[in-house]
């Protein structure tokens, strides 16, 4: 560095330090009132996925910048791109990220092991840094479990979604059928409504290998199985075999042709063009299905808890990495973005809120256009378990292995042999992790 430049920079830094300490004193002067302008002039860099909540918060962003004087650069990416970018930046030890998003149930254990999270307790418990209206207790237990990894609170959930069953009420009614709640009832309803000659199918779901494991988890746990037992894979237990068998049979007998190629984009298309009776997917699908601009069945759809009553929950969590240049200002943004007010505003747009108060606010309950969806979502969020994926580091290889058993089951191959082979591979995978 040139000496003159070095002198210039040190003078600037000195000035910055002086001014920042001047900036703190007024906050102490106004005692009792939370000082939103304490970090005025800071610029935050946020790396965040593209979700419906993202669209909402980007609209609201100017309000935060006005309130706090903090500028926010929110760079948004499709999930997989975000993961790529975060991995490179965090491995390289970037000191340029203030806030990042992660889906803990997918990558939380990996990031936690790599040391990319910080716990937020110190910020939440500091009354000079946390607005008293923030009310951490308002977040539902399920939502907080999505922001907790190995017992550490590593972020704040922005929304918490759960898997639900989506069905066509008019078609069930015409056949005189009740909404199924057990696996046996679901199979009976799917069988009764299945009409492949008219390109209509009783059951729509994911069959595309690794993409199917998350929605399959509700059947695995609903039949009494689990991904792991005592830290070991439990993919070839009788309960797991029964779950694979049910999933395979449902899609083979009452599903659309070529179900092994279907993930959520194909299923959205099938269902919105009126080709399916029953389907289980994340609650967020409702926004698309209920939008007449995007859906041909918007006026004939309803929602229920998934058969077996063990839906998964997931959500994107805002975290602060250890090298964040503006940790306190970042916390200001997080507490504002997940505040009661914003949670409720998002809820009114159909985004599942992590806060209990948003679900109970009269502004929402009195104007709820889809009380059936609300009821199904609330019950599902109560029942939901954070086991969409196993709690391990190498989630994706695990999903690839289990996905193969799902494909074999749909194709009617020997499930026991396939599950035993998968079990051996997964035992090896977990051994490498430890």
């Amino acid at each position: 560095m040139k000496p003159r430049l070095a002198v210039f920079l040190s003078v600037m830094m000195l000035l910055a330090v002086m001014f920042s300490s001047v900036g703190v004193s007024p906050s102490l002067a106004q005692e009792g009132e939370f000082d939103w302008r304490r970090y005025e002039g800071t610029t935050l860099r946020v790396l965040w996925p593209n979700t419906a909540w993202t669209d909402f918060i980007l609209e609201e962003l100017p309000a935060f910048e006005e309130l706090t004087g903090i500028d926010v650069n929110m760079e948004t990416f499709v999930e997989d791109q975000l993961r790529q970018k975060l991995t490179v930046e965090l491995i390289a030890g970037s000191d340029d990220i203030d806030i990042f998003g992660s889906m803990t149930i997918q990558e939380g254990f990996k990031y936690h092991q790599a040391g990319w999270y910080t716990t937020l307790d110190d910020l939440i418990n500091d009354p000079t840094l946390t607005n008293p209206d923030f009310d951490f207790e308002d977040f539902s237990d399920g939502a907080i479990s999505l922001a907790t990894v190995n017992g550490d609170l590593i972020g704040i959930p922005t929304y918490s979604d759960a898997q639900i069953m989506i069905y066509r009420p008019s078609i069930l009614e015409a056949a005189g059928l009740e909404v199924p709640t057990t696996f046996e009832e679901t199979e009976a309803v799917a069988a009764a409504l299945n009409d492949p000659d008219n390109d209509f199918y009783g059951w729509i779901n994911r069959g595309k290998g690794a993409a199917a494991t998350s929605v399959f988890s509700s059947v695995l746990y609903g039949m009494g199985g689990a991904w792991t037992v005592d830290g070991q894979p439990a993919i070839n237990t009788p309960e797991a075999i029964a779950a694979f068998d049910w999933w395979g049979r449902m899609l083979r007998e009452y599903g659309p042709p070529g179900a092994v190629n279907n993930s959520w984009p194909e299923n959205v298309q099938l269902f919105t063009s009126g080709k399916g009776a029953l389907w289980t997917e994340s609650g967020q699908a409702a926004a698309t299905i209920l939008d007449p601009e995007q859906s041909g069945v918007a006026d004939d759809v309803s929602f229920a808890v998934v058969p077996g009553g063990k839906p998964y929950a997931y959500g994107w969590v805002m975290s602060i990495p250890p090298n964040a240049p503006n940790r306190e200002a970042a916390w200001y943004f997080i507490q504002w973005a997940t505040s009661k007010e914003n949670s409720l505003k998002a809820k009114l747009l159909g985004i599942p809120a992590p806060r209990t108060s948003s679900w109970e606010d009269p502004a929402f309950t009195e104007n709820d256009p889809h009380p059936d969806l609300t009821a199904a979502m609330r019950e599902s969020l109560q029942l939901a378990m954070p086991y969409m994926n196993p709690h391990i580091v190498n989630v994706q290889p695990w999903r690839d292995v289990v996905g193969q058993v799902i494909v074999d089951a749909i194709e009617g191959k020997d499930i026991v042999a396939s599950a035993n082979a998968a079990q051996a591979q997964l035992e090896e995978l977990l051994k490498q992790e430890q």
Partner: protein, 278 residues
């Protein structure tokens, strides 16, 4: 009477079969592009309909969404700056390198340059990122241009090696005999005679840079984000804006296609130059 000449008739048949095959082949290759362009004028319901809708009421909504409500003009400009600059630098650096390699038979050097292209690009990414992080250059045009050089420079160099080797040695010798330096040979003889190849190589390097996704996603910042990265923002979980995606993709494809059409003559003659001994 003449048309009854069996030979002539056979020739007509042959020709019409040839054009029929050509039409089918063209349709086959153009189909995805036509489909994409159609999707960009459809509403989301039409785009998601099964079976697909062929006749529909066209809407400009997707283009409004893409270019007025999203900063796509900005992204297009970013892509253009990076592609144009990396191509220009590629030619300025690559042409003398190619000339030297062709004239002095520096085969080893040529292979080293090609190695940049053979190695999987992802293996550079982490070292690059760390490097640019230390230099405080992440998210700048400069870092994107520099990295895109590894995509374009080898192509430019290798195409030009072939072109320079094809030039008759007599031209070079007579320039030298007339008192010109080797630089004169390069600037006054080799470069002008290889103009078609330079044009072709530039177009190809431009398109490679234009389409580059991997380097851009890691190294671009909010202000320098190029088109291929931006276009994916039309995709989110459980909701794909097919029309918006198609509108953006149509424009992304359209610009290099237009460039390629304008320079088509050069591309064809440039690509085959060196392949056929004249």
């Amino acid at each position: 009477m003449r048309s009854q000449n069996p030979r002539r008739e056979r020739a007509v048949w042959k020709r019409s079969l040839f054009y029929l095959a050509l039409t089918l082949l063209t349709l086959f290759f153009l189909f995805p592009i036509i489909w994409m362009a159609m999707a960009s004028f459809k509403t989301q319901v039409d785009n998601l309909a099964t079976p697909p809708v062929v006749l529909f009421e066209p809407t400009l909504e997707n283009y409004r969404e893409t270019f007025i409500r999203n900063p796509f003009p900005r992204y297009t400009w970013n892509s253009f700056v990076v592609a144009a600059a990396s191509t220009a630098i590629g030619v300025v650096v690559g042409a003398p390198a190619a000339f030297s390699i062709a004239r002095y038979r520096q085969r080893g050097l040529a292979v080293v340059i090609l190695a940049a292209r053979i190695m999987p690009a992802i293996s550079y990414l982490l070292p690059w990122y760390i490097l640019f992080l230390r230099l405080k250059m992440v998210g700048t045009y400069e870092s994107l241009i520099a990295t895109h050089l590894t995509v374009g420079l080898p192509i430019i160099t290798w195409m030009l090696i072939g072109a320079f080797e094809e030039l008759p040695a007599e031209l070079e010798d007579s320039t030298l005999v007339d008192g010109g330096s080797i630089l004169t040979v390069f600037l006054r003889v080799a470069l002008p005679l290889s103009a078609p190849t330079i044009a072709a190589a530039s177009i190809i390097a431009f398109i490679f840079s234009w389409n580059n996704f991997l380097f851009s996603i890691i190294l671009a910042g909010a202000a320098t984000r190029p088109l291929p990265v931006a276009v994916f923002n039309f995709v989110s979980y459980l909701n794909i804006n097919v029309g918006g995606l198609a509108a953006a993709a149509t424009v992304i494809t359209g610009i290099p296609m237009l460039l390629a059409l304008l320079a088509q003559r050069y591309i064809v003659s440039g690509l085959t130059m060196g392949a056929v001994k004249g």
